[in-house]
Symmetry: C2
């Protein structure tokens, strides 16, 4: 058991460099913990000459990650290039075909090709592990797949895009508009080259789709996820929600209901005093609910060199220690197709309406809500200098179709001066 486990790393950006640093810094510690030394034998990246602040001289270089993945002196292929398709997928497939274990941080690849890759890996008898793909340094894939394996999971929730949470926090703390907070985050290098990946909820949606697969034993079905970014969240709503005791978060929710699998990544209100409500800045949080464990909350850095490399190394250590697990916690062939829920589960909703300041305006709104079976829990009308009266409504639990019908009917009352805003209040 003193054979060295040999890593081939493709991709030497922030995370790849972090992995190199850990392997170099902790050689003795890793060997003691894993029972075998871990060494890097070969690397591949876009630029061979870039100074990454680490000594790479002793590693073989490959221009082509596919060639790297097949090298006979590589036992575990560490894929840190990113991208749903292209070289990442080609190299991952090559590694699996060559009988190598794969550790990846690539949520997009797994959200789109998880089923096929899992089937291939399991057929080849190799591990395909992806702790670093979800919520950075938080060992949430492990907690869900292993630690909570005795539970029927009832719901998974998460704030899993640090950039969005940073923007929403800055709007709240500093009173910035969405555009100002976005510009600030961008200036700090927090925003992806394609901003929609962050603020459109796509990146966080990829992560949620992977957790949902493990939680409910279903095939990854990112295409069925309801995605709504934070671009329409206004500073007004953040303030009004705050008055009512809520924070607005880009919240992912996956739950299996009688109507099928519900997967949403949308701006939601959560109680300010809840762990999710208290989460500020770029930190991530995942909440797992199971029939035995009740509720577990995991919090930590969702990105960054050290935390993401920590997650990669956790997977590597599991492989060195001989662990073997199906990719999504049960054999891929037994994962059920995930019938998407045809409607999201009932909830209380936050409504913000701007009404003309005329007698009877509010009565007309209340009538439309009543006609659609929506009852009002709380209502608040604000002082208003002009002719528009801002009105906030928190509904009792309401079926989404009823809400949508009411939202369609409201403009017909002629008393609204703008489009109504409706946000789900998630019970947490």
């Amino acid at each position: 058991m003193t054979d060295t486990l040999r890593l081939g790393i493709a991709g030497l950006g922030t995370v790849g460099t972090g992995v190199v640093k850990i392997v170099q810094r902790h050689a003795e510690l890793l060997s003691r913990r894993c029972g075998r030394p871990i060494a890097i034998t070969a690397i591949s990246a876009r630029s061979r000459d870039k100074d990454r602040g680490v000594n790479l001289r002793h590693y073989a270089w490959e221009d082509d990650p596919v060639v790297l993945a097949r090298r006979p002196d590589v036992d575990v292929f560490v894929e840190l290039m990113g991208g749903a398709d292209g070289p990442a997928k080609a190299a991952t497939e090559a590694a699996i075909a060559a009988g190598k274990h794969v550790v990846t941080a690539n949520k997009a690849m797994l959200a789109h090709h998880g089923q096929a890759l899992a089937e291939a890996a399991e057929a080849a008898g190799v591990n395909l592990r992806f702790e670093a793909a979800v919520a950075g340094g938080i060992p949430v894939v492990k907690a869900l797949t292993e630690g909570l394996a005795g539970n029927a999971v009832t719901r998974v929730m998460g704030v899993m895009n640090g950039t969005c949470n940073y923007i929403l926090t800055r709007m709240d703390d500093a009173g910035l508009t969405y555009e100002e907070a976005f510009a600030e985050a961008d200036g700090l290098g927090y925003v992806e080259a394609d901003p929609e990946l962050d603020v459109g909820g796509i990146d966080a949606g990829h992560k949620l789709a992977l957790l949902a697969s493990i939680a409910f034993g279903t095939r990854v079905s990112f295409d069925d996820m309801k995605l709504e970014g934070i671009g329409k969240v206004s500073i007004d709503d953040i303030r009004r929600a705050g008055d009512l005791g809520y924070k607005i978060k880009l919240l992912g929710v996956a739950q299996m209901t009688g109507r099928g699998l519900e997967q949403r990544m949308t701006p939601c209100l959560v109680p300010s005093a809840s762990p999710l409500g208290q989460l500020v800045g770029g930190t991530n949080m995942v909440v797992i609910e199971g029939d035995a464990v009740e509720q577990i909350v995991l919090r930590g850095p969702g990105a960054g060199e050290g935390p993401t490399a920590s997650a990669v190394m956790g997977d590597v250590c599991d492989i060195v220690r001989g662990m073997k697990l199906p990719v999504f916690g049960q054999p891929a062939e037994t994962l059920a197709p995930a019938p998407p829920a045809n409607a999201e589960s009932p909830a209380c909703f936050y409504l913000r309406l701007e009404l003309v300041d005329k007698p009877g305006a509010l009565a007309k709104v209340a009538t439309v809500l009543g006609e659609n079976g929506i009852s009002i829990d709380r209502m608040r009308q604000y002082d208003h200098p002009g002719a528009h009266a801002p009105v906030l409504i928190v509904t009792h639990k309401t079926a989404r179709p009823n809400l949508d019908a009411a939202l369609s009917a409201l403009p017909g009352t002629g008393v609204l001066t703008g489009a109504p805003v409706a946000l789900r209040i998630e019970e947490v």
Copy 2:
């Protein structure tokens, strides 16, 4: 791989009953996730006839847990009896000697005999797993041993006794005295038969000792832990600390310092806005800090049938899935003796003094602090109807010996009307 994994369960209290329920309820789910069915073959408990609300008829009964542990039809011995010695230890040793894996929730047994049991288990080539022994349903042993295996852990902190946190929360929320809050917790059945296990910090200290061993690669050394219960925490201190922006928690802290391994389970102040400060009621929280991952926070129910049984089943599933790990994350024989730190690391301290209401009293206190190298960060004197002036002091970072010297010298000033209170402020 369709051989059934057979459990023998010793102890059918809350947790044992919870394990039976999960195995019965989730037979299909567990089999799908683990690749093999899991079944209970034999049980043992104090009373055979007690109605536990579950059907036990199909399981063989043993009066003696040692006999149960040796049964040829048991693959995994599940020890849920408790107690550091006696039947729990005898049966665990018997199981290991008979080549059975062991899953236990017994923190006292491992805190006192962890090294010997780990050596025996590893020599026998069996697993000895104890997720349920630490922080109930939170998969923290797994997170620390496996998920964060790429990190040099720098500090582990935790609120790991729900009873203490419940008492402190009720003192804070409802303004109860310690005695009143204790009586309330006792009435709810939250307090152990020997209350010192809870309020004396012993139970939480056992848990911290186990985490410290994994975190720092040291032998479990519970006897070297600094233990201080919550019995001396007064409602005054809770209120004053609140005024200053802190909560008082029974906080476990383990860290490796230049002076050796520091292990403390003591009442500490933590910022009210931190995750630890926001933790209320019986919920547990563990904070792990590592050189790569920065900080991970895990939160969940620290006790109860479902959560603790969830942790037991997580361990059972790992064993069914073929995982094999050293008990404390590296071979027991490589665990280093833990040289206890001869002094705790420097910290800011909260001091509460009751002074005679005479000119120069405060000057005398300040002089003593200054003479002992303690500088004052903040000071607050409260209105006082009588002749005693309550004074609060927050010090700058201070070495504990200096603090102790000052505390010894203060009564000599003749201006104190009671014993000074000093509580550590932990940076979190």
